[in-house]
């Protein structure tokens, strides 16, 4: 059992090292090796899931006398098993898809090396047994993301996007590390399994500072899961290849923040119903509101985007907001369940968009597509299924998970958040159907769309598999067994959650049909309110100004001050003083014989005075 776990963790790393050191020239072999290792990972994970065991193990990473030490360890429970299945499952399907999508790329080996490195890092996060190990793999996931977003680094936009992603994540990591350190002080341990017992053993720990520590740790989740205001990197990350967007920026890496918070919260107390006793109100409220605001902001921005990947990216942001909101409502089960269903249908949507982009010869503007339902039937059908799941149409998996979250909000009396969640559901239906109507229905709007053909089996198979999961993963017979965390769903037709979600879907669908059912161009594009949405609330521009005024001008000022005052005045001052003294005493060497004679005489007088009259 242990060796299976270490194998799942270590195999992708070995693959990445092998590709980098030996297979850089033999690109197709590299691609196959990587896909094979992903397949092995999936098979082993299925084995683990079927066994359903729980265990922890580890070895010493840092061992210092007088200090408990840091371990590299594995904590396997249902949360880890479910997440592992998501990672290896979506990962393998993405590897398969990439074999076809990236086959003409000149740096195929580097791509697959990056994918394997990512699999290693993500599995590390999932299996981590303590915060420091999770932080380590957290940063490694950031590195893999940097490498993959910047895969086509010769393009300025891709290189900039990769840098932006890494730096935004770093800011989150800054908060994360502070939180870990504070938690270490308060609780006395990093290890998840020990947190609850250590906290119980310190009954007089400061609740306020625990809340601050929780918020700081959440900052890491904000960076990784792209919550506002650290959300700006995710849309730009679409510069990477589409399979990368599917795996990393939809299903797994961005979900790591939610996973981490779920792991954290489930470790704080053995019974989740007691969570509100440990986590202070201000922390959980902040988390929930940040989730809600991100969700709303992203949904508004998505309504006016024209790039198919950008629409999906904002929708991911919005759904992540839902998950974070659930965590903030101290219902990690709802959050993780939504993460689970979201992973499948979002990966499906991204891979579907990849298929569309591939067929339309790298066209990404939805207004240049159209009529794809006739030319790409399999893709259209699976894309439709994914869209329905995302909108939360009844009987799809998304419906069940969204219901859970709405239930949570209603159950805890958080009606403002409930309202936001319902509004976002409406907006989600609106912009997703806008995408579907414009890109898939109607007549083709450009030459490229005319020539689109259905994709081959390597690309179609993952789509079909994911569509099946998108439909079925919400039900208890499937999701209940393998979802990371699960609460059974109780269906009440009269519950406010159900009413709200059904009405949201219906209103959104109606508006979308009205505006975009037969549109040739976007009717809302010129309205000033929608221009704000289209321009992403000008947040990117604001950040650019902020960075240039706060960081770069401060840096320039500090540099100037350093050069002028410290280097110029002080160090230079010493130099000039030494120089001046030298010149002053140099004047004594006048070369004038008689001057020397006078000094000589004065010196003699001085000596006589000192020896005769003073001693």
């Amino acid at each position: 059992m242990e060796s299976i776990l270490w194998l799942i963790l270590g195999l992708p790393l070995l693959t990445a090292a092998l590709i980098h050191l030996g297979l850089k020239r033999k690109q197709p072999i590299a691609a196959l090796v990587s896909t094979l290792s992903a397949a092995v990972g999936l098979i082993l994970t299925l084995l683990l899931v079927s066994k359903g065991e729980t265990l922890s193990l580890g070895f010493d990473w840092v061992n210092i006398a007088g200090f408990k030490g840091i371990q590299i360890g594995i904590e396997l429970d249902s949360l880890a098993r479910g997440m592992l299945l998501i990672v290896t499952g979506v990962g393998f399907l993405v590897h398969l898809f990439s074999l076809a999508y990236m086959k003409d790329d000149s740096a195929l080996a580097r791509y697959f090396c990056g994918l394997s490195l990512f699999m290693f890092s993500m599995i590390g996060i999932v299996l981590a047994s303590n915060f420091i190990m999770m932080f380590m793999f957290w940063e490694l996931v950031g590195l893999s993301s940097y490498l993959l977003i910047g895969h086509w680094y010769q393009k300025d936009t891709a290189a900039d996007a990769a840098k932006k992603a890494f730096l935004t994540n770093r800011i989150g990591d800054f908060g994360f590390m502070i939180g870990i350190l504070m938690l270490w002080g308060i609780a006395g341990t990093f290890t998840f399994s020990e947190l609850a017992s250590y906290l119980v053993a310190r009954p007089d720990h400061s609740v306020f500072f625990l809340g601050v520590a929780i918020l700081c740790i959440f900052a890491g989740a904000m960076g990784k899961s792209a919550q506002a205001p650290l959300h700006v990197w995710l849309p730009d990350a679409m510069e990477g290849p589409t399979p990368v967007s599917a795996l990393i920026h939809a299903a797994t890496m961005v979900a790591a923040g939610v996973f981490m918070m779920a792991r954290f919260f489930t470790s704080l107390t053995p019974d989740l119903a007691d969570l509100h006793l440990i986590v202070p109100e201000f922390s959980s409220q902040t988390i929930a509101w940040i989730g809600g605001i991100t969700s709303l902001l992203a949904a508004l921005m998505a309504t006016q985007q024209d790039d198919i990947k950008k629409i999906l990216a904002y929708s991911t942001l919005s759904q992540l907001g839902y998950m974070v909101m659930a965590v903030g409502l101290l219902d990690p089960e709802a959050g993780m369940f939504h993460l689970f269903t979201h992973a499948w249908f979002k990966a499906l949507l991204f891979l579907g968009s990849g298929a569309v982009i591939f067929s339309c010869h790298h066209e990404q503007n939805i207004w240049k597509m159209g009529g794809l339902k006739k030319t790409m039937p399999v893709t259209s059908l699976t894309f439709l299924l994914g869209t329905l799941a995302l909108c939360g149409v009844p009987f799809t998996s998304g419906f069940f998970s969204k219901e859970h979250i709405l239930e949570s909000a209603a159950h805890r009396g958080q009606w403002a958040l409930f309202g936001i969640a319902a509004l976002v559901a409406c907006l989600t239906t609106f912009y997703m159907l806008r995408l579907f109507f414009v890109a898939f229905l109607g007549d083709s709007r450009s030459e490229k769309a005319n020539h689109a053909k259905e994709v081959g089996p390597l690309m179609a198979l993952p789509l079909i598999a994911l569509a099946a999961m998108a439909l079925l993963s919400g039900y208890e017979f499937l999701g209940g067994k393998i979802s990371p965390l699960y609460k059974p769903f109780e269906f009440h037709p009269a519950a406010p959650a159900f009413i709200a979600s059904i009405s949201a879907v219906l209103i959104g669908a109606f508006l979308a049909y009205k505006l975009y059912g037969n549109a040739k161009e976007d009717p809302l594009a010129e309205k000033s309110l929608f221009k704000i949405f289209r321009n992403k609330f000008y947040i990117d521009e604001a950040y650019a100004k902020l960075i240039s005024y706060d960081q770069d001008s401060v840096a320039a000022f500090v540099h100037f001050f350093d050069e002028l005052i410290i280097n110029g005045l002080i160090v230079g001052g010493f130099t000039r003083a030494a120089d001046g003294f030298g010149r002053l005493f140099g004047r004594l060497q006048s070369g004038n014989l008689q001057g020397y004679a006078v000094l000589f005489g004065l010196g003699v007088l001085l000596v006589i005075y000192l020896t005769v009259f003073l001693s």
Binding site: Q589, G591, L593
Partner: protein, 105 residues
């Protein structure tokens, strides 16, 4: 017979004249001559002290013997100094002390 003070006064005067000459004159040969004047004044002082400080009724001959040493050393020094001056004149064509300042710095 003049007393000690008068001898000292004379020798002091001669020393002062020599010192003034060394400091103020520009011709190097004149400076040299003034240097000799100072030596002579010092010798006079020594002899005066020797004559007026009696040891068991006789002059203290130490002073007079020292004067012989001074005269010898002065002679050697003049020889070397004049040789240097001649070499200096050959190199610089001048014996004006104000023009000989290349050791400045």
């Amino acid at each position: 017979m003049a007393s000690l003070n008068e001898f000292l006064f004379v020798s002091g005067l001669v020393f002062a004249i020599g010192l003034a000459g060394v400091i103020l004159r520009r011709n190097i040969i004149v400076i040299f001559m003034c240097l000799e004047l100072m030596l002579a004044a010092a010798s006079l002082t020594l002899v005066a002290f020797s004559r007026f400080h009696l040891k068991d009724g006789l002059p203290d001959y130490n002073g007079q013997v020292f004067v012989f040493f001074i005269i010898t050393v002065a002679a050697a020094e003049v020889a070397v100094g004049l040789a240097i001056i001649v070499a200096l004149y050959r190199a610089r064509q001048t014996i004006n002390v104000e023009d000989l300042t290349s050791m400045r710095g």
